[in-house]
């Protein structure tokens, strides 16, 4: 077991290394960071040359990669085009995004498992049909559409009806927010509720569909029939013999879906005006800020590889039938 985890860990590091090369090639091919400057006929030639030198644009590609990679190894993510260090910006935006993603993922797991189990137990009954249709509609709704609909047709009418702002639709917190942590909680809640709800609704649907089919598969297994024949109660069979086994594949699916959740977070942040990682990245892309794009893709790739590793290990821990080859 330990040798297996160690080997998976080492493979993950190799993948991460190749990912840095891929990321670097993608980002440097995105365009010329000085295109805007050059398009202005009044820019003095000396300025362009100075900027090129500052951003190392004339160095060979492998040299630029190596400089960046060496910096990353030493915790230095470089500077933005505006000349500020990237790392502090990255951490502050990451915290904002994680607040939404962690809350949404935890809620989505409970909703998905709950509804998936319910639909499977009531297979082909009204509850099953209602849940399945809802899941499909949510699956077919792009994140930004859901966010906009919740914002325009749920949050704003409710706020108008009540007369005060319960659901904030712009920003991750009020700009003037201060005071002790406890007194800030209502403000955090008002700002987080809708974006988190958006992310929950688009994320849980595919997991719930998966949980349902996994449950149906297990309900059909011989050991379940045996457990019922032994005289165990329906409830006990459902929880101990069915759900426990049905959760195994779902767990790994949830861990592997992390990249998709981060993708969804980009849109949620843009719709709700959060100054999070996704918003930061899109700004980086539009201004062709190489170090911002690199930092974002590096961090997300690291997270995805980490969750792949966790999925692999969890799969083995949860399912004792698995031998480590």
């Amino acid at each position: 077991m330990f040798a297996y985890i160690l080997r998976r860990f080492l493979i993950s590091i190799v993948i991460l290394f190749f990912a840095t090369i891929l990321v670097f090639l993608l980002v440097t091919s995105a365009g010329d960071p000085l295109a805007l400057l050059k398009s202005n006929p009044h820019t003095p030639h000396s300025t362009i040359l100075a900027r090129e030198k500052l951003l190392h644009l004339n160095d060979p590609l492998w040299q630029r990669y190596w400089d960046w990679f060496w910096g990353v190894l030493h915790g230095n993510l470089g500077q933005t085009i505006a000349g500020q260090p990237v790392a502090p910006q990255l951490w502050s935006h990451l915290l904002v995004t994680l607040r939404m993603v962690v809350v949404a993922t935890i809620i989505a797991i409970f909703v998905a498992v709950g509804l998936g189990v319910w639909a499977a137990v009531r297979q082909n009954k009204l509850a099953d049909h209602a849940i399945t249709v809802t899941n499909f509609v949510l699956l077919a709704t792009p994140v930004f559409v859901l966010g906009l609909v919740l914002k325009e047709f749920v949050a704003i009418p409710i706020n108008q009806h009540v007369g005060t702002t319960i659901f904030y639709t712009d920003g991750q917190q009020s700009p003037t927010l201060s005071g002790p942590f406890l007194s800030r909680i209502p403000d955090y809640f008002g700002h987080t509720a809708l974006p988190a709800l958006t992310l929950v609704l688009v994320t849980y649907a595919s997991w719930a569909i998966y949980q349902r089919s996994s449950m149906l598969e297990t309900l059909d297994a011989d050991h379940v029939r045996l457990a019922r024949a032994k005289g165990l109660s329906r409830r006990r069979v459902l929880v101990r013999h069915v759900l426990r086994n049905a959760l195994i594949p779902v767990t790994t699916v949830i861990a592997l879906d992390f990249a998709a959740v981060l993708g969804g977070a980009i849109l949620t942040e843009i719709v709700f005006g959060w100054q999070g990682l996704g918003q930061w990245y899109v700004t980086g892309v539009t201004t062709l800020d190489v170090n911002i794009m690199l930092a974002y893709l590096l961090v997300t790739a690291t997270f995805v590889i980490l969750f792949n590793l966790i999925a692999d290990i969890l799969y083995g821990v949860l399912d004792p039938r698995i031998r480590y080859a």
């Binding site: 990912a19 077919a140 309900l219 879906d257 980009i266 899109v282 995805v304 590889i305 031998r323």
Partner: protein, 332 residues
Amino acid sequence: MPEPARENFVMEAPGEVATVEAGAHTLPTASPGVGLGGTDAYGLSGEARSQWRIVLGRFVHQRLAMIGLGTFVLLGVASVLVGHFWQFSYTDITNNLNDPPSWTNPFGTNAIGNDMFAQVMAGVEKDMEIALTVAAMATLIGVTIGAIAGYYRGWVDSLLMRFVDLVLVLPVLAVLILLSSKLAKQSNNWLGLAVIIGALSWTYVARLVRADFLSLREREFVEASRALGATNRRIIVKHMLPNAIGPIIVNATLTVGLSIIFESTLSFLGLGVQPPAVSLGLLVDQGQASATTEWWLFVFPVAFLIVLILSIFLIGDGLREAFDPKKSRVRA
């Protein structure tokens, strides 16, 4: 749609867990052209029927899937007809600014006087164009890579699959935003858009086909055709692919739906389809500011976008059931 059965493990009870994997099943018929006779729910006659007739028979019996197919065909035909015969073209600028829905403009008009009905239908047409191109491209690439990896195994397989792993490490949307930012500066960029979405959408089908091919290559009919002197190419194309066709078609359908989601997302961000061309994502973006005042600018594009994607997912789900009915058996 990630795959749960991870290749890194050896299962002691492979049958039980492997069946959970979405769509990765071989067809009930081992060799193409031989009918199943009386083994499926709708064909008790015992007369020989082709694999396709059986699948079709199961598909048409599903109400939701047929509704999905009907909606999709209707939207496709209507978008082409409206483009040719409707009194307004989506580029026409009239003097009716921000008019609510009426008999002349059933979906109203926008701030510069475009007829919204023409705009929405043009958006549907553009979305379908892009999505079908993406699905064709992604399926072609994915099937080729998956088939080569699964058939030849060894270092070819390792190399290709490690490459797939590498592609999957980056969030698709983030890479799409990066690649499309360059395209967004050109008008009429839909083909380029389709190419980049397609270039990132083939990984799942590649894994699917590889997994199928790994088991198919050990089957007797493959051994038989090899003994008869068939070339590798002939074995792959004539004998193995027809047996893996179910999951491939189901996945291609889902890719159509997913690529509409990706395209509309990029268009919403201003990185996708560029004006004067329209797509539903672009219309949603243009309509969002007036969602509560000029509701018709927002509600119609949103409704058509969701209905279009939903219809495709329903078709895909119906096809999955039709190709693989054992997943939906009623429990005793």
